[in-house]
Amino acid sequence: MIKFTIDGMEVEAEEGQNVLQVALDNGFDIPHLCYHEALEPYGACRLCQVEITRGNKTRLTTSCNYPVLEGISVQTGTEKVIKARKMVIELLLARSPNVPIIKELAEEYSVGAPRFTLGDDDCILCGMCERVCREIVGVEAISFLGRGSNRKVGPPLEINPQTCIACGACVYICPTDCIKVEENENERTIVRWGRTLPMKRCKVCGRSFAPWFQLDYFGKITEGIPKGFWDKCPDCR
């Protein structure tokens, strides 16, 4: 057990946890856009800033990738922290002025109209889609491309990633909801990645339930599952 304080309150955590998760578990409100407990912390959005005192040094730092350490003290609402959050929100709002979650944050922190030329990119480059695809799904269909202001997330050739199984994990996890999925009886399309796959019908009820390619992939990575399992939809299994 590691003991430390958050805003003066003593908290306990397991070795290997990060400060953000422990704070959230204890009911502290720290805004965050690139952190999910199922994924490796990445530290890209820079929104989860707090001030941490370790020994005699206090510094502003992101909490999602800060490992819990015995005796540190975390401040989540100092003047510096709020100033930093507001600036980060202003920068995000200028990039993505139409994204609801950013607009809500701007409202909550009284960030007015950005002082910069507005962009119209709904992707904030949090990298959650890239991580869920690589760490959880295991197919690495998308990655970061380019650097600096030209950075993007997408398939290697910017369209139709050959390993994408159209599982929709990225669609689900994207905080700005900018990855859309379209589906009909015959095919499923992950719009942002330009990936369309034909659907398979359930052997029992005849309903189309998942892309063929995806079921093949599951068949390959799972063992000991009875033959024919992937031929039926979840309801008929």
Binding site: Y42, G43, A44, C45, R46, L47, Q49, L60, T61, T62, N65, Y66, P67, K80, A84, M87, V88, L91, L92, A94, R95, R115, F116, T117, I124, L125, G127, S143, F144, G146, R147, G148, S149, N150, R151
Partner: protein, 617 residues
């Protein structure tokens, strides 16, 4: 080379090599590093070889092809030993004359000598040239004494004797103590004490420890690491071997940027030579040291030189920094304890071992010991690599070694620390250059770039220029760094376009704060330096742009007008002919005029006017 199995054998081989050589035998050294090659050094060497052959002199005169010797402005250099005569900007056509006159008749060829621009005097000997005279070339100096592709040359100047000394006389802990005591600090930018880094890395738990040499050198205009790798690769490898022994590592990497093919080639060749004679591998010099080194190509981005990005890149991942709440000395390459040092840092190690920590501590300032190699570029007469003791003033570097500002212009500022360093104004040129002093004045040591700017430089434009570089080179991970540098660039660009607004300086300061405080790696954390330092020292210039819509240096095109001075104009018409947009009117022998609406401010008229009649305001 046959295998060398003990320190005694190493010493014996060294004596044999030295014994075979005759220091009185004439030798022509030619520089042929990347800069010299750009000026055609390879052709010069080819001609020299052919000419010696033709005259039957191959046995009588040695040729030594060296790496760069710093004086890039004058490449390729030919130095004739034992007299130490330096010829500069030598062309293939000069070779026959050099052989017949200087080598055979001992006559100096005036035309090839260096002329001191201050005195107009021709200088014969290399070490009398002011550029060299004021330097303390402890690290870089050996470039002139060796052919980097010859391990024999390196052994002849005492190479690998420091390694032998360490292996026979000291425990790893004692080596760390020597490095700690020497006061050596990292030359890659941060200035972290090397001995302490080694100590923490040695102490870190793990079955495997790595040592890495950072030769990414992404800082535009800085090329001291290239100079060392090309010109004296064994000194860096020897440093790494000593480090490996001290830290307890059996595997090392040299991470060289893609754009340095010659450096890679020379390091690879040196490693091959070492493996062949058993100086790399198992049981080095008959002791318990096992160590091997691999060379790896850099990812090609500036940010790949950052420690964690470099390690990610070595692992085959995207070269992107990660948080360092757990230090790389504990968990670095493949999560193993890793010591990363810069090329120049490694090159200092054999010297310190050889001469002792006390000797080394005597050079430099209280907290910055030893020498530093700077790459002196920009508006300065002698550009090149210069090695000086820490604590030399910028004044001495720019005026004594660099020969001052060309064309009689005035010095305005010196940017140290590369793109994310700061501009230091002319009024502070007498500060001693060391890690702490540079930081104090709002700049940093960085890897040792030194860009001289004259009074024709607009400081807002300079800040814009560096911010443009940084916004493109940010890896783009952090919102603060990616969006922040881009917005800073936009604000600066608007100011230079005459669209600056009241409050822009404050906005730049606010952005600087969040980029520096809120970003993950040192690229973001230092990116605001060029903006903050120019605001600090040249605020009036920002205000002139914003409020007065005027660029005092006459650089920002949107903020200047060209006109012709009535008194000076002779009506020769040269400007009228040169103007690409027909903005100049006037009859022959009469006063000419520029139409400000048509003028595109290209400067063509200024360039051709012989009477200094075109004015920019």
């Amino acid at each position: 080379m046959k295998s060398i199995n003990s320190p005694q054998e190493l010493q014996k081989i060294r004596e044999e090599i030295v014994g075979r050589r005759n220091p009185e035998k004439p030798c022509i050294a030619i520089t042929s590093g990347t800069s010299a090659r750009a000026y055609g050094s390879e052709k010069v060497i080819e001609t020299l070889r052919a000419e010696l052959e033709k005259q039957g002199l191959t046995e009588k005169i040695d040729i030594r092809v060296t790496g760069g010797q710093g004086f890039d402005e004058r490449e390729p250099l030919v130095i004739i030993y034992p007299q130490d005569i330096l010829y500069q900007r030598v062309k293939p056509e000069d070779i026959a004359e050099i052989i017949s006159e200087t080598l055979l008749r001992n006559k100096i060829i005036d035309r090839l000598l260096y002329t001191d621009p201050k005195t107009g005097e021709k200088i014969v000997h290399k070490n009398n040239i002011p550029f060299y005279k004021m330097q303390t070339p402890l690290i870089f100096g050996n470039n002139s004494n060796i052919d980097p592709t010859s391990i024999e040359d390196y052994l002849a100047i005492g190479g690998y004797s420091s390694l032998a000394k360490v292996l026979t006389e000291f425990t790893p802990e004692q080596v760390i103590d020597i490095i700690k005591k020497s006061g050596l600090r990292g030359r890659g930018g941060g200035g972290f004490p090397t001995g302490i880094k080694w100590e923490s890395c040695r102490a870190a738990h793990g079955d495997k420890h790595y040592v890495i040499c950072n030769a990414d050198e992404g800082d535009p205009g800085a090329y001291m690491d290239r100079g060392l790798l090309e010109g004296n690769p064994h000194s860096i490898l020897e440093g790494m071997m000593i480090g490996a022994y001290a830290i307890g590592s059996d595997e090392g990497y040299v991470y060289v940027r893609h754009e340095y093919p010659l450096a890679s080639e020379n390091v690879e060749l040196s490693i091959e030579q070492l493996r062949e004679c058993g100086l790399l591998g198992e049981g080095i010099l008959g002791t318990g040291l096992n160590f091997d080194i691999k060379v790896s190509g850099g990812g090609g981005a500036f940010v790949c030189g950052e420690s964690t990005a470099l390690m990610a890149s070595l692992e085959g991942k995207a070269g992107e920094p990660r948080a360092k709440h757990i230090h790389t000395v504990e968990s670095g390459l493949w999560d193993k304890p890793t010591d990363l040092n810069n090329v120049e840092t490694w090159a200092n190690v054999p010297l310190i071992i050889n001469k002792g920590a006390d000797w080394y501590r005597d050079i430099g300032t209280e907290k910055s010991k030893g020498t530093k190699i700077f790459s002196l570029v920009g508006k300065v007469n002698n550009t090149g690599l210069v090695e000086v003791p820490m604590g030399m003033t910028i004044n001495d570097i720019v005026y004594e070694i660099g020969g001052g500002v060309p064309n009689g212009r005035e010095l305005k500022a010196v940017q140290t620390g590369g793109p994310s360093g700061g501009a230091i104004p002319a009024s502070l040129m007498d500060i001693p250059v060391d890690y702490d002093k540079l930081k104090e004045v709002g700049s940093m040591m960085g890897s040792g770039g030194m860009i001289v700017m004259d009074d024709k430089t607009c400081m807002v434009d300079i800040a814009r220029y560096f911010m443009n570089f940084l916004k493109d080179e940010s890896c783009g991970k952090c919102t603060t760094c990616r969006e922040g540098t881009r917005r800073m660039y936009e604000v600066l660009d608007a100011i230079t376009q005459g669209e600056g607004k009241e409050g822009d300086i404050e906005l730049l300061e606010e952005l600087s704060w969040i980029v520096a405080e809120g970003s993950l790696c040192a690229l973001g954390q230092t990116a605001p330096n060029p903006v903050l330092s120019t605001i600090r020292y040249f605020r009036d210039e920002y205000e002139a742009h914003i409020k007065g819509k005027h660029c005092p240096a006459g650089v920002c095109k949107a903020l200047i007008t060209y006109s012709i001075d009535e008194e000076a104009c002779t009506g020769c018409g040269a400007c009228k002919k040169a103007c690409p947009v027909e903005a100049i009117m006037g009859e022959k022998k009469e006063l000419h005029k520029i139409d400000p609406d048509k003028c595109i401010r290209c400067g063509a008229c200024i360039a051709v006017c012989n009477f200094d009649a075109v004015k920019v305001v």
